[in-house]
């Protein structure tokens, strides 16, 4: 009777030891991964590409019910407000018709002036449209996964827009999926112009709802309500893309409310302006090694 019990307890001890060993080595591995993630970004990026490509079809299916519910709720809301909206639209239409004639006049004027100055035209953009299938990172990172990748012509560094304005930039592009770094992410830095004066600044995300303006020479140069648009510095963005408006100026801190609300984006447009930008450059280590 005693032998088997002894055997079992010996097996038990062995199992506990093995488990402890597994636990400790896996904990060690997580720290190793954190270091690798910092040191070898190319390897980690490739791994991320492969995984997002593989999981995006699953996420696409999983995101469909929520999308359907959101559409349904939107429809109901629109139905409820249809009369007022119609009146508003009629008014807006009348206003826009006036603007249209103004725009046509200005376009003609522009054309004749350009012919006088021999201006080199800005590159026109090509667009790809994709669906948002995942909103990842929660409080710790702000990115979305979309259903277009390299096979659709999406490349790292390209600009992502939604109806109201800038969403962010393509951070990594897999074959059939891509990750977009939102303007609110802690790693996002965008050269911008503020207000009508066009004061230069950097719009920096902090994983909160409202990114902040850095390096704005004089904070009194920004007032709540001022529009914030891309400046085109560093050749990462074409100038003039709308991002948001200044929401609060408080003791040197200028907060910007983005036009695009992260939670509401269902589709995005990925624009290729043919800009190389800072993201598409070689990583610093590789450049330094040469």
């Amino acid at each position: 009777m005693r032998a088997p019990t002894g055997q079992i307890s010996r097996f038990g001890t062995l199992k506990t030891l093995l488990q402890r060993f597994a636990f400790l080595s896996l904990i060690g591995l997580t720290f190793a991964l954190m270091l690798i993630g910092k040191a070898d970004t190319v390897l980690v990026e490739r791994a991320r590409d492969a995984v997002t490509d593989a999981v995006t079809p699953v996420l696409r299916v999983m995101s469909q019910p929520a999308g359907a519910v959101a559409d349904f709720v939107n429809n109901l809301r629109e139905l409820a407000a249809i009369r007022e909206e119609n009146a508003e639209l009629r008014e807006a239409n009348a206003r826009l018709l006036q603007w249209q004639s103004a725009a046509q006049r200005l376009e003609a004027e522009n054309k004749s002036l350009r012919s006088l100055t021999a201006l080199v035209p800005e590159p026109t953009a090509t667009f790809v449209t994709a669906r948002v299938v995942a909103d990842t990172g929660g409080a710790f990172a702000q990115s979305i996964l979309i259903t277009a990748g390299q096979s659709q012509g999406v490349k790292k560094g390209q600009i992502v827009m939604a109806g109201e304005g800038l969403v962010g930039r393509v951070l990594q592009a897999g074959m059939y999926s891509a990750r977009v770094l939102l303007v609110t992410d802690i790693n996002s830095r965008i050269p911008v112009m503020v207000g009508e004066a066009g004061n230069r600044a950097i719009l920096a995300g902090d994983n909160g709802l409202r990114p902040r303006l850095l390096f704005l020479g004089n904070t009194s140069a920004a007032a709540p309500g001022d529009k914030v648009v891309t400046s085109g510095d560093a050749e990462a963005f074409p100038p003039g893309l709308p991002i948001g408006q200044v929401a609060r100026v408080d003791e040197g801190v200028v907060e910007v409310e983005p036009f695009v609300v992260r939670d509401k984006i269902q589709h995005v447009r990925i624009a290729d302006y043919g800009l190389t930008g800072i993201l598409a450059q070689q990583p610093p280590q590789a450049a330094a090694g040469k």
Partner: protein, 171 residues
Amino acid sequence: MQATILQRMDGAARRLVPFGVTLVLMLFAMTPTYVPGLSHITPLYALMAVYFWSIYRPDLLGYGSTFAIGVLEDLLAGTPLGSGALILLLCQWIVLHQQKFFNNKPFGVMWLAFALVAAGASLLRWLCVGLVETSGFTPVTEMAASYLMTVAIYPIVGWFLAKAHMKLLAQ
């Protein structure tokens, strides 16, 4: 009595339930809700699942599976690689080492214990992300909001997990 192939396959599939459910919850955390303000405070769903299975079926969710789910989450979410896996592993380790405490405790106690574990996990994740990212720390308020959401939603997720446990793994 010898089990037939079908029975054996059925058994194997059932043993995969904890891993599968945790994986699905991890992916569920990423699906867009289209509700304004929610994605900022996405609860740590995978943590809830790891906590639950470590209490009720520690035999069916090993450290290796937990690690794999954590790394997959980091790869997908764009968070520093390893940070998600670290908190899941530590949560599992703590629960496994306090098995006696968790034995036959009422739900309120389990919830409170989860609130403690999740607090440690959120803080550690926040530290890891802040130290690894070159751009600095996420605002504490964002982390706290996500933590409160995690604790608040645990009873609902726990109820679903308990249903899955009873339906699929009752023996």
